[in-house]
Symmetry: C2
DNA sequence: ACGTTTTCCGTAAACGTTTACGAGAACACA
DNA sequence: TGTGTTCTCGTAAACGTTTACGGAAAACGT
């Protein structure tokens, strides 16, 4: 079934070395024979065995993205990543790299899966998401000397790897500014664990802006939940039970906001009327909610493309003559004003 | 850096053959030496090179899932698949198989990517989703003799491959039954292209139930849109503009329903009050919407596990002594009654 | 003590590539 | 004609495994 380079060689009555050279575009092969090889390859439907090639070259020509059902997030998935992956895939393909997505089991935070990918050399590089403030995966990879890039920053690993993150700190501050400008003084924040770096950054921006406006930070207006609908649903009532309830709520992502709005509705509080709502990481979901949620929209597909470029530039084998460069970028979040605040 | 089987052998002063046999649990190796090999492997942090192993064995020990941003669905992703993949991954891992998710570019319906996976032998089997009524991917795979399984049925390929599907026909009929029992006679259906098999099945069930209740089928109450929020948003107004507007709407999935409800709200029509809403493929999104949407919930994670079993059973190399069996199953959809109908 | 079986291990080939090396042929130039 | 250069290709080794084969040593049975 599977035709190998030997079949091609036999068919053309030339050596496998020549076939390989012809296929790989090397200079030392006659233009005529090259053409014959190419024709035969098409005719016999030949394509190189990936294992054989990887083994010889010592590279798999593929990049792994570690996708993980977030802890506590058994039921709902991560639409967030799809456009990102689309961009990543497209850019990698331009360099002849395949993107493979490795599913982690829920809960183990990928350590085990990651080791497996690295140690069995299934990919030449990996891309991490859901970066934590202190991230053992990053420590592991830097220590192992394995190429990687991250979607999101971390304090781990120093500046030794490329990373692309969103400016959650500024978004948190901008959200507060906007709400204050609209007359709000009691502003709640619903966020995930501070381990997750974007939760940490968001809160930092929130507090900074509060301080700037001379508003005292009130721990009662902060609640921590799982970063999904159930999390938002569970913890939003907490901040509403404050002695001096908030008139506005900032949610750290769309799923939390949906769950939170549900809880509000059940308590007879109308989001957008009785309490203002802003979402930090907005997806199309927010747009189609009623009321349409004001939020900060990330440019996910361009981010995927950019991170691919950054990863490639950091790998000596790919960087070419210019040498490897570590690039780190923080992209702005664009505010989309809608009806909920 | 990477320690090979040769390093192990040299370190222990035995041959690589013995090391390999020890590692692979073959019988013809002394219990004592085996232990020494295992210890050394742990100490030297050895794990076999995947490319070398695949090359020799002629198998990659991995299964590919073809994930694709749906045509027209650039912005929003597919949360639907995450729990399914979790189950699939877990079950495959039990048999020592890796799951890799291959991203397709939007639009090309995967044909090209699929060829690539098959021809370069990157995986031993593939899993397909979004099955169409006539599915060229299935034709290609059966013709190539490549093992695969599908989430969803198709008319292509006969009974030559395992498939697991949901009973969309029954769900469509059940939805109609339920609405009729609640006094509705004008029931609209918002569905995707009939190419997509589940859209076809849904409509068949819908029509059958209508006939059973003696209600005439009205094409004005059917609308076709992209299977996402934008699709639902775009086409729902169409059915509402009917001369005799519907008092109930069945949406083919949650995303369409969200978009549809948005459109209704903007027209001053309250879902759950002014018009009843039922969703065929329900996700947690429906639960956290206001009003909470009545829908049919699939058991995604168990489905993933089951499809993995079915796939494994169909591959002679894995089926063991019992021989390969092709299993096809259709699972029921469980109605979750909530507030929208 | 001797033949037979069992246990254990080393040798070497094979999987499908890529590539360093060298050789023959053609060509150029004097 | 001789020498050097350029084209083109074949040979063979190497990547890291697994495994068929055979043989030495040990264990067993009489």
């Amino acid at each position: 079934m599977a035709s190998s380079i030997h079949d091609l060689a036999r068919h053309l009555n030339i050596s496998i070395g020549t076939v390989s050279r012809a296929l790989n575009g090397r200079a030392d092969v006659n233009a005529d024979t090259r053409q014959r090889v190419l024709d035969a390859a098409k005719k016999l439907n030949y394509s190189p065995n990936q294992s054989g090639r990887s083994l010889r070259r010592g590279a798999t020509h593929s990049v792994a993205f570690m996708l993980q059902p977030h802890p506590g997030d058994q039921e709902y998935g991560e639409p967030f990543f799809i456009p990102f992956l689309t961009g990543l895939q497209a850019k990698l393909a331009e360099s002849g790299l395949d993107l493979i997505v490795v599913m982690g089991a829920p809960g183990d935070y990928q350590q085990e899966r990651l080791r497996r990918v690295v140690e069995t050399r299934r990919a030449d590089a990996v891309v991490l998401a859901w970066t934590r403030r202190e991230d053992e995966r990053i420590d592991y990879l830097t220590q192992a000397g394995f190429p990687f890039a991250t979607l999101g920053r971390s304090r781990s690993g120093g500046d030794s790897y490329p990373s692309l993150d969103l400016d959650f700190e500024k978004a948190g501050a901008d959200a507060v500014d906007r709400l204050v400008a609209r007359g709000h003084r009691r502003i709640a924040a619903i966020r995930p664990s501070l381990d997750l770096n974007f939760g940490y950054l968001f809160l930092a921006g929130y507090r900074k802006a509060l301080r700037r406006h001379g508003i005292e930070f009130d721990p009662e207006l902060i609640a921590e939940g799982f970063i999904n609908e159930a999390g938002g649903y569970a913890v939003t009532p907490k901040v509403m039970r404050s002695k001096d309830p908030p008139t506005a709520i900032i949610f750290n992502n769309d799923a939390m906001a949906l769950g939170g709005c549900k809880a509000l509705a059940e308590a007879g509080i109308r989001p957008g009327h009785d309490v203002a709502v802003i979402v930090i990481v907005d997806t199309p979901l927010c747009r189609y909610f009623s009321p349409a949620l004001t939020g900060f929209r990330p440019a996910l597909e361009p981010m995927g493309e950019r991170l691919a470029e950054m990863l490639l530039a950091s790998i000596p084998a790919f960087a070419g003559t210019e040498g490897a460069r570590i690039i780190r970028e923080v992209w702005p979040l664009e505010l989309i004003a809608r009806d909920s605040d």
